[in-house]
Symmetry: C2
């Protein structure tokens, strides 16, 4: 196993397929991951849009093992490993390292609110010290609209200084471009700032960012990756506008069930629609509006069916 | 095992002691629980103030087993069993039932925000159906300041109607008396409304509530239980004021480390001060102010030392 390179480009929080009894379906999960890789999209499995926090640690470790055992390159994997309990974060992160993952995406503990930077520093530092792997590459996960526990620039700087070879990037899902730009401007050495949505991809590349981790890349991977490749192109603004147009079809709906509706429709496999509580599937009317919006744009998910076969 | 009676009275989210390496200390945990029972305070172990969401499922199951194996009456136990992942909530709740616990306190899944009542209903219903125990008594845990996922009265009513022998009460930690009173006024049959703090104990008893689950009962159990017993007394308002006075000494500080400082000081066991990240211990100055405030009020924790010996 070679030491992992730092991530750049487009990754996606891979949606997690469930059986009707709500257990995870490893086969369709492998299929989705293979399709993503065929579209040059990296695998940020167990992210927010993966319903990761509705999965037990055991379920996630099993899914990770099955991906890698099925031949998925672990260096393309950036599993989410940050949990509320220290022991869970350590267990998940250590397992990801054991399996050679290219990095991990780490939420802070998110139950207790109003905690201090000192407390959050201590949380991340304990995980790093206990895992104790020179190959560990952590991408911090800043998503205050959901976690309600944000990561300040000062906290990140303190972690980068203490662990420069370990704390190597961030996913910024604040939706606040000024926050993303502010991190880039800090100029931490080779620090990878990944926007939390492709909406900010072009802005992020122009400002010196490293790419994005995009929920919509689950369904629209090729076009998002193309903008990453061609962001210096004169057509880049038009490409961004086209991405935003597709993203806008999803935005009126809860994102996770909406992504799953598209996957179900374009793969021909209705079981993709299943979500775990507390989420609910889209209503029939929501589904119709979403799919109609995609149809109007001649949207497609080419290659998905072939990935299922291979 | 007899079918559990519904809880009333005073319970506490028992603080969880840690060793220096941050592992839980079952011996001091048993001691604290014994002391609580000797003061007529029930055991809502694994609540918010127990740092429960900084503990893994395995750590909690082990602590629960050790309490019961040490002779703690399971009917006095109302462990917190609500987790983000369905499988974890089912595992914890089923284990609590297997061990004969009097009830469980159940948080909703708290990572995903803005979820619907339908989604939350589905979450609780799945746990109930999967555990499938006639002895299961659930107390719903409404704590929007921390969980950021609240339980509406309509949601609770729907659960009470669907599972009248199972969904039997609520802990209201909203800090909003109108919300607590509103639930009592709904008049659900024999439904136990427990205030989330002793600050609302007298109001709650006068309105027809069942008692409280109080963090401060970890350190001031006898006085809180006395008000529960004597709420019809002419002196009740003075007793409530005295409770509020003690609670007010703790309130300027983060509650969990403050409770632990008091436990450490009055038990003579400094190791009580250890908290898990993301929490931080009080600073020396905070400790001094807190302990000075308690000393000024001739505060004591009588019987704690004896519980340690027994």
């Amino acid at each position: 196993m070679s030491a992992p390179e730092r991530f750049s480009g487009v990754l996606t929080p891979v949606i997690t397929p469930f059986h009707e009894d709500l257990s995870p379906d490893p086969e369709r999960f492998i299929q989705q991951c293979r399709w993503m890789l065929s579209q040059n999209v990296g695998l940020s499995v167990f992210g927010t849009n993966s319903e990761a926090n509705s999965l037990t640690v055991e379920e996630k470790l099993d899914l990770l093992d099955r991906l890698i055992d099925a031949g998925i390159d672990p260096l393309k994997l950036m599993p989410g490993t940050g949990c509320c309990a220290l022991g869970d974060s350590v267990k998940m992160t250590a397992h990801a390292m054991k399996r050679g993952c290219g990095g991990v995406l780490m939420l802070p503990p998110f139950y207790y609110k109003g905690v201090s930077d000192d407390g959050l520093y201590r949380s991340f530092a304990e995980v790093i010290e206990r895992v104790g792997s020179a190959d560990l590459r952590i991408y911090l996960y800043h998503i205050p609209p959901v976690s309600q526990v944000g990561l300040s620039h000062d906290l990140i700087e303190r972690l980068v200084r203490a662990y420069p070879q370990t704390v190597v990037g961030v996913k910024d899902s604040s939706g606040d471009w000024a926050n993303t730009e502010g991190m880039i401007k800090r100029g931490w050495d080779d620090f990878r700032v990944l926007a939390g949505s492709e909406t900010f991809l072009l802005q992020n590349m122009r400002a010196g960012g490293a790419g994005c981790i995009s929920a919509t890349a689950n369904v629209n991977p090729a076009a998002i990756h193309e903008l990453y490749e061609k962001w210096r192109d004169p057509a880049a603004d038009d490409m961004q506008a086209a991405l935003d147009d597709i993203c806008g079809v999803f935005q009126p709906f809860p994102m996770i069930p909406a992504l799953k509706v598209a996957s179900a429709h374009y793969s021909g496999d209705a079981s993709w629609e299943t979500v775990r509580p507390p989420l609910m599937a889209l209503t029939a009317a929501q589904k119709a509006t979403l799919l109609d919006g995609l149809k109007q744009r001649n949207f497609d998910m080419p290659g998905l069916a072939e990935a299922a076969i291979s």
